[in-house]
Subunit: 382 residues, 4 copies
């Protein structure tokens, strides 16, 4: 494994490995620090030392993003999308991809700081916030999922938006008729009324503009009611869309992991759907304690990749890809009887106690196989 391959594994946005996730977390943290330091720099009354600290932090973050950009450019040929393509072409392709362009924009502050130096005012620096927020949008885990939900539900959401516009303009127009005479500065035109309408319909309620006539107040009350209905409707749309999309993503991810566990190989196609729905995946770094002796036994584990060591008193048992452990506590409903520690970074599939029992109802042969193995292990222990 070359350095470039290893670096790509760390930077790969699709990787579920432990280190790659840490790199992503670090990147998000770095962006937040950068945004904060730029923001702090715009405060007028800041003492000179604080100001120079903020500027220094901004500079360091910008420099790190510059380094990251170069690193990503270097590893671009490792991407699975770049097979059968020359390295230069793969890099160019990454540069003009949406992610590449956003990362390039995030580098601009570094360039500006380097060239502009001390003469770059805090005001012009404030544009960095937007560039880095954009970077956050592509790197924060899960933002893609949310974007997908909005995309899937676009027809329902646009209907809700139409409803919002309909109510907003109707209310603004009627409020304009009712209140213009008494408060010409606030309701003198429809666009002016719109400000009141949007503040009311979203139930924000600044209170800078308030209807004074009785009719205006009745209209206001109805508008607030519409507001909570719109909010409730949006919540309903997004709740359903979110649940469906999460289920869909989880299924594919777990399906791929299940395919790597030999224990599930004999299970027929119908049964596997039941199983996939019930498993969750988890990743552990090397040396992590997966199970602690004496803890409540609320789940069992199937190893997808990696090695673990089961420590029962003085004895130690090694398990690796395809093995499972933790089933005894489920079968006996007792606390854990051993420590289990990872020897290498591990990815495991977790089966919760509730799902274990429900699976026992639907797939008795599968659970019987687990019980048989548990019996064999107990015999070995005795």
């Amino acid at each position: 494994m070359t350095l470039r391959t290893r670096l790509y594994a760390l930077l790969d946005p699709a990787s579920h490995g432990h280190s790659a996730r840490q790199v992503r977390a670090l990147e998000v943290a770095l962006i937040l620090v950068g945004i904060s330091s730029v923001s702090a720099g715009t405060v007028d009354g800041l003492p000179a030392e604080a100001r120079s600290v903020a500027a220094a932090v901004t500079g360091i973050v910008a420099a790190l993003f510059f380094a990251e950009y170069l690193a990503r450019l270097w590893v671009a040929p490792e991407s699975p999308h770049s097979h059968h393509v020359s390295a230069a072409r793969a890099r160019l392709r990454w540069m003009v991809s949406p992610e590449g362009i956003i990362d390039l924009l995030a580098v601009l502050p570094a360039v500006a700081t380097a060239y502009g130096g001390a003469r770059l005012g805090a005001e012009s620096a404030s544009v960095f916030v937007l560039l880095w927020v954009l970077k956050l949008a592509t790197h924060a885990p899960g933002v893609g999922l949310i974007a997908r939900v909005f995309h899937n539900e676009r027809s329902a959401l646009s209907a809700a938006a139409a409803l919002f516009v309909i109510v907003l303009f109707s209310a603004a127009t009627i409020a304009h008729w009712l209140e213009a005479e008494r408060q010409p500065e606030h309701f003198g035109s429809i666009p002016a009324s719109l400000w009141w309408a949007v503040v009311t319909l979203t139930t924000t309620g600044y209170g800078d503009v308030v209807p004074l006539s009785s009719a205006g107040r009745v209209l206001g009350g109805l508008l607030m009611l519409c507001g909570i209905c719109v909010l409730a409707l949006l919540a309903g749309i997004l709740a359903n869309g979110f649940a469906a999309e999460v289920r869909r993503r989880e299924f594919v991810r777990i399906w791929e992991l299940v395919a790597r566990v030999p224990f599930f190989a004999e299970v027929g196609a119908i049964a596997i759907t039941d199983i996939v729905d019930r498993l969750r995946s988890r990743s552990y770094p090397e040396g992590a304690t997966v199970i602690r002796k004496g803890a409540a036994g609320d789940s069992m584990f199937f190893i997808v990749t990696g090695e673990v060591e089961v420590r029962i008193g003085e004895r130690a048992l090694e398990l690796r890809d395809g093995d499972f452990f933790g089933e005894m506590a489920l079968l006996d409903r007792k606390p854990r009887s051993a420590d289990v520690v990872t020897l290498t970074p591990c990815t495991v599939l977790v089966l919760n106690v509730a799902d274990f029992y429900q699976l026992a109802g639907q797939q008795p042969t599968l659970i019987a196989a687990i019980e048989a193995e548990a019996k064999r292990r107990r015999a070995n222990d005795a």
Copy 2:
């Protein structure tokens, strides 16, 4: 196909075709432009040029709606509800239908502008906003769906409304007792207290009226709590109703499309329900790229109507109604190996990768048929 038939296809509100949807989007955009220009016209301090631009835009939009009204009137006999009816009668029937009346109202601004000319003040023009908002309500896609959800859930919603009224009047009465002495201008009567109660219960909180006594503040706090409960309750009601209605509509729509794909013809009645639940439909204009070579293979497609061309390197393969494509990437879990471009406007059914796997569990024979076809195609390629 006569001009009238073709025009009707474009204007048919029930059509899922690509062009018809573009016409609807255009109409919504036009309404929004019209509403905005009328609104802008009511601003007092507007420079004369801006004012005349707004007036001109309003006039143009009004004229276009007039033209649209005539077009809809002309094509009315093409409607499926007008079989065995004379053209004149079909047109009259459309004119007195709710949609026809609303479209007629939306035409009034055109008439008023034409006759009233320059003498028509911006103030009287502001009524156009309401007329066009009404038109938006009938033409915006999905507003009917939302109306249906409110109708389905009317009993639960009226219960929530009753709760709202109960809390509102109780709070207003008690606040009137507690605060009337200290703030007679705000809590001097129950109707006056109601304003505070509704502003608080919807958590809008303008802050123009605030309880000052300790007892009043405790009441206020409870009222805010009730407010978020009412909101939460509404969200729950609408979320459930929305999910149920969307599922119901999708089912019928997909069922009708599935019936046109011969591949599904042999599938028994029980199995078809599983399949319909998992398919989604999508429409493409002529010349669109459905699949791009090298992209991630996350779904397969069944052609309901239209023709596509599969481009593998130099060779090209034509597929039409009833054929399917994109299955290889699902079976092999590899990026797409070909471009697929539409030759005519197409409607396809899309089967997501997660649903493909779940279907593989529930309907193994169906997936076996797909695999057999894929094997045949691979043999052809070799």
Copy 3:
């Protein structure tokens, strides 16, 4: 059927009949009118005529409630809970039931108005609002359902309430430390801070108290975030509880209606659960048009009680309890070919087109029976 039996049928809160529901709607309307008139009476600047109109309306509503109380007392022995019990005992039992006590309280205004006459001030009358709101709570349809949901979810809701209290007091205490020096009048004690905390945590935001220090503003921001989380959590709890309770109630109600339709009698116990889940009930008064010729055929109907007339051109066909109609439009996917009008008040079970197709998948024999009947009818028509 005696007058008392017929009156009981109208007043029975558990009845799903058309007239009984109209009586309930009337009662809700009457309560709302009463509340409004009492509220209007508390307005100081009201002209004398308006005031006397309000007082007259209040008096009439109170008198009607008095009459209603007597009527309910009279029909109490008809209640199914009063079998094998003397009429006097049944009435006494109703009087001391929660509903009886609340109805008695709602009568107090009538007594007070009759005795107090003109001397009864608007201020003392305002207590009527609370009494009538209480009556609304027992008579509004669905309020019991909502109360049940809150009861079912009490453990989850109390957890959310605990969270609310934890956040509220923590925020109030910390705000007291941070802001007491600068704003002693608003944050001088923890109870005083609580007002700000509750206004902020519920996102009401009056703006009468606002943190001024930077630390206080950070705290405020976090508090608002907690607020939307609490709201989201409540929405989640209530959404789930509501869906579960509605499903449970519908099932029992439809189950009882299905048991009365002979067509479903042969269906086995397993299948009936599928069917019950898909049916909805609807009630029609005498002479109502259930199906209009030419309309879209989106559902079929099973008659539970009552008689309908199918009008195909000149011919008319009578159907009664246990018959079904409207199936042809579903089978042929065409507009309705006949008018169907009720001859007596009717209760029917409705099967939606989407559910019809899904049932066709799960219960093919049932749909086959419907198709056979449709074929027989078509043969008769020909």
Copy 4:
């Protein structure tokens, strides 16, 4: 059963018994009283007597928590996690557990009051609120459930948080550009703008800072819209997570209770999953009336532990662990024909009428066994 065992049973946080739940409710009440009395003590204008009452209540609550701490320390060896461990070690282990540390912190006020006596100012006492709120967080039922939901959904929630940060900083930066000139005191720096942005994005809307320019108001309107979307998204995430976690917990709990009822012993593994999903558990103290004669029969009961007496007229029938009752009202759809009173504290499983019918569809043999027993009982009665 020793005193220590019995005391442990009362204090065990995992116990579902009636007395243990009352102890927990008492503890929550005590914490709330303590928090209130400390809060009241910080009010400046309080009369001397009220102040001394508040101080006395605070002292008593603190002393009770001290006693509770000692009690919990004493019973620690009874915990199931402390098998094969010496009593001293078990106590030490509890002391350093999170719960033990929080309970120790909650004792500090007692110590401070005892030593500090009258000299301890109300201001320093206000820190007690935080300590006790912390204790509330560990003892309030259900807070652990909510914490678990937040943990399960952490990836989705962090995505929503990222979205929140992205919108917040973008809006603050743009608002800073648009409004800084006109309102330098409110929008002069990005951190200052952030206050407006967070108040607006959470739709709190204090109104202390309001955009004045047209562009700023458009930005504000968009920000409010984003706010209700974020709120809706959060509601969706938490609603789904909450439903899944509650289902999981209930399943395990009921599964364990079902295992103790012999009636369900013969049921196969597949069927038992159906049954577990439909049962709920309830606990009654000694002498409670489970069923009242004449009430509506809406559920049947299986006794897990305890004894009940069925009183039909003069005769009395005793039932104990594993028996069931209340089935006749379900089978006959009639009001209850007997009183059922508990003779000892009881835990029962409740089967709702709707679930009974649905189970009758899915598990006909089970319901047949219940009907057979009901027939035998009726024969005995005759």
